[in-house]
Symmetry: C2
Subunit: 180 residues, 2 copies
DNA sequence: TATTGTTATACTCTATAACTATA
DNA sequence: TATAGTTATAGAGTATAACAATA
């Protein structure tokens, strides 16, 4: 994730020259959202990636007891699900564990594997993050009316999933790659 | 610009879990467009950045005669307009010049400065690129009907420029930063 | 002394490969 | 032999700083 840059002179004028293509607008919006979301993530290790991992880990109960009964995902499963390289997952989990939001538990059935579960603190953190992200979305969509925003969200969702073409898998691959 | 990654197993399933927030959809769409556009750029040095530079340079005439009468932009002006670091601009122009699409001309009034102009070949290349980019946009928006696509474009444009808030400048800064 | 453009250096991510401990 | 996780190494991309030429 690139650092926020110092303001640059001349960009406003450049907008007049650049702001007429889809790619540009898309880039601006995605970047704007990312910056707003970044603030929401705060010091959560890994930013958006850390959030996704936490969100996945939170599907299972806090340390001590399973929330559902299903076994928490292993590091490898998590990495594959989110499209993150398993070596990167190691670093990411190191940081998330140090931050106290997830825990690695030895799998009794396979001592090579580690099961990843969110801690109670991690769950609380996740609830906060979800709320803040909803706010971030509202900020980004503020220029639109309520109806428009709903329509925009719907179309965006359709575009992202590309249900009409066989490209859903590819789109998802891209999304996952985006997290890398 | 990240390289296209090898397909990753499991992303499709992950989509079901991830695909419910704006940030995710935005990321997918921006990434999808970027990949499609990347193909359109072909071997143009610098990808999207190279395109923007070429586009700017093409505002002035091919080598030998000014198209308008205004002097072509200097490297520094170009860098500031597009929000690219001037050291990066050096490398980028090296590549674009080697590719034969732009030329550096000494400024008679200030021998430190270099004026950047598109070559005839650069202009032809730009026309191609513009056409291909329009196609790329169509591909990305294909899931929408004609009416929807128009509405989507309009809303996206409004969101990107954020005219209702005083954030236009900030948004443009972000857009420029995006090119870095 | 300040500015334009260039070159050199360092830092951040990410990708690849090598290693361990289990299976 | 293959797999889960870790660690080490190397590459691309970018930012920072030093430099030469000119103002």
């Amino acid at each position: 994730m690139p650092e926020p840059d110092a303001p640059v002179r001349g960009d406003v004028e450049a907008c007049a020259a650049l702001g007429d293509d889809l790619g540009w607008a898309l880039g601006v919006l995605a970047r704007t959202y990312r910056d707003v979301a970044k603030q929401a993530f705060g010091d959560l290790p890994g930013g958006a990636r850390g959030y996704q991992v936490l969100r996945y880990a939170a599907k299972w109960g806090p340390a001590g007891g399973p929330g559902t009964g299903e076994a928490p995902a292993t590091q490898l499963a998590l990495a594959q699900q989110l499209g993150i390289d398993r070596t990167v997952m190691t670093y990411l989990l190191d940081d998330l564990e140090r931050a106290g939001v997830v825990e690695r538990h030895a799998d009794p059935a396979d001592r090579r594997a580690r099961r990843i579960a969110a801690t109670a603190e991690g769950r609380a953190r996740l609830a906060e993050l979800d709320a803040r992200l909803r706010e971030a979305e509202d900020v980004v969509l503020r220029p639109l009316s309520g109806e428009e925003a709903a329509a925009f969200r719907g179309m965006l969702q359709r575009l992202a999933t590309q249900v009409d073409e066989g490209t859903a898998a590819a789109a998802c691959d891209e999304a996952a790659a985006d997290l890398r």
